[in-house]
Symmetry: C2
Subunit: 350 residues, 2 copies
Amino acid sequence: MFQDKNIPNTPISDIGEFELIKKITQPFKIDQKNTIVGIGDDCSVLEFKNNQILVSSDTLVEGVHFDLGYVPLKHLGYKSVMVNLSDIYAMNGVASQILVSIAISNRFSIESIQEIYNGIKTACENYKIDLIGGDTTSSTSGLIISITVIGHAKKNQITLRNGAKPNDLLIVTGDLGAAYMGLQVLEREKAVFKVNPQSQPDLSQYSYCIGRQLKPEARKDISSVLSDSKIIPTSMIDISDGLSSEIIHLSNASKVSFILYEDKIPIDSEVIKTCEEFKINSSIAALNGGEDYELLFTINQKDFKKIKNNPSFSVIGHATNDINENYMISGLGEKIKLEAQGWNSTKKSN
Amino acid sequence: MFQDKNIPNTPISDIGEFELIKKITQPFKIDQKNTIVGIGDDCSVLEFKNNQILVSSDTLVEGVHFDLGYVPLKHLGYKSVMVNLSDIYAMNGVASQILVSIAISNRFSIESIQEIYNGIKTACENYKIDLIGGDTTSSTSGLIISITVIGHAKKNQITLRNGAKPNDLLIVTGDLGAAYMGLQVLEREKAVFKVNPQSQPDLSQYSYCIGRQLKPEARKDISSVLSDSKIIPTSMIDISDGLSSEIIHLSNASKVSFILYEDKIPIDSEVIKTCEEFKINSSIAALNGGEDYELLFTINQKDFKKIKNNPSFSVIGHATNDINENYMISGLGEKIKLEAQGWNSTKKSN
């Protein structure tokens, strides 16, 4: 679980939970001018003046969303923040605060909890986020991290899922499928390790995929790029469950359908090579694999010229005025109906 | 776990988690005009104009904070909301939204999850709260409910823990110790039931204590009473861990100390009778028992006349200019140093 194997393992009972909270929260500093009161009172106090407020929660459960057999605790802390920030960025907003609730069994030491919070702290520093509250409770088994993220945006910039119009262009940031293939590699290595604990695998040829799985980055940059280009997307969502299921979410919310072109889906060359090795169709990895935390959005066609040369964006399809008729046109010209096949066992109500 | 024993037990896998979320969230309606977008997008959107925003999280873990052996699921849902609202009221604020994250193992049926949400819904209706998000995930064992509550208040009304001044009066709402004694009764009946499952105990003589334990109410009413009386408390906290530990929190935050008078602590006559039966000192039940969710606050002495006839309030002591010298004057005139002895295994960072 640790990256550094020489870290001691002190039981929580050695210092008690009040001291633990102090140890954990002390390294966190308040940076945001809209955080008026941080940790330490019954509530924290925030002030956003003329902005609207964005709020979302996401929970990661050991054995369901992560496997400590191959996920370093620090990465887990980092990723649990990314998963949440991504929801704010998917509204075209600025993320500013998080509350972190951790339920943890007594098989975890003080150092292991600190390691999770080290990852959370790195995420907060990299993304300019204030930790403003939460709690640490005992659990009867395992580890559960539940985070609430708060952000803000001007009313007219907030982008919901429901604004796509027929003929809008469907655009995705970055590339897809890598996090899913990273998981395949890690699962395989875990199985090998079980049989032969002495194995020292060389995973360098999968470094991009594994990095995308263990330490994803949320697309904080996109809202600035869009705003600099004077584009407000007509609809937007983040890709946590796979491209197919997110397209269907936009389709349902906006009451339009989408045509997706298989050969336009951006897939990294390492993903393609890894897919060949695993005998997985790389389009399926992008469509049904999840956890890429890229953004999927629609823009009016007139805005196309403003972003066409930006390598962060791929136009992968367009909206039609049908209802519930989402299709992919395959590389061979076949028309394949898109189905929701999220692989994540969390079903969010927002 | 159910109050009505004839409810069926349908496994979640019968309908899948997407359908479950639909079933759960559909009965909830948005009432608050400051909820702009509720459940259904990546985030919910709120707008508070000139108010500051209050945020807090609290988690309840099966086997740590509650025992389904005697806690009905509907009451559990209700109580988990109360625990959170209480933090907003302790800031002299108005609670308006919650996000609910539930991690639940597959031993729970659809009906049992609905029962929890029925309790949450009743709480939302009684307290005018919008459910605006959260998630439902599988857990490897047990049930964990993590709630984030959002509220608001005018900047000059928000009451922190740190404003008490020497000579301020220390006031508590309602009465104390009943929730703790309710827990003692329930624990005893559980032990009896283990030995003799046919036992049909008559618990009517403990109804107040049991009600306070299973279905506490947060003091929403107090901020209106204070505001009608034109009082802004100098400091405030809610009583979740017991009077003693909350007094010490106010003392530490405000850099004053408190003298508490034992014979002024408000204790219901049923609590006194139950304490006699259990051979527990009723002051100890009030000082160290928790979960009363009453409010503890300080006011300037000049405000005393405005509230002296209000039966909701008991003046139980006053602040001094000492540091870390909190004492109770016992009924016999002894001076006893107050110690933090919270009994709740959750340690909140806010």
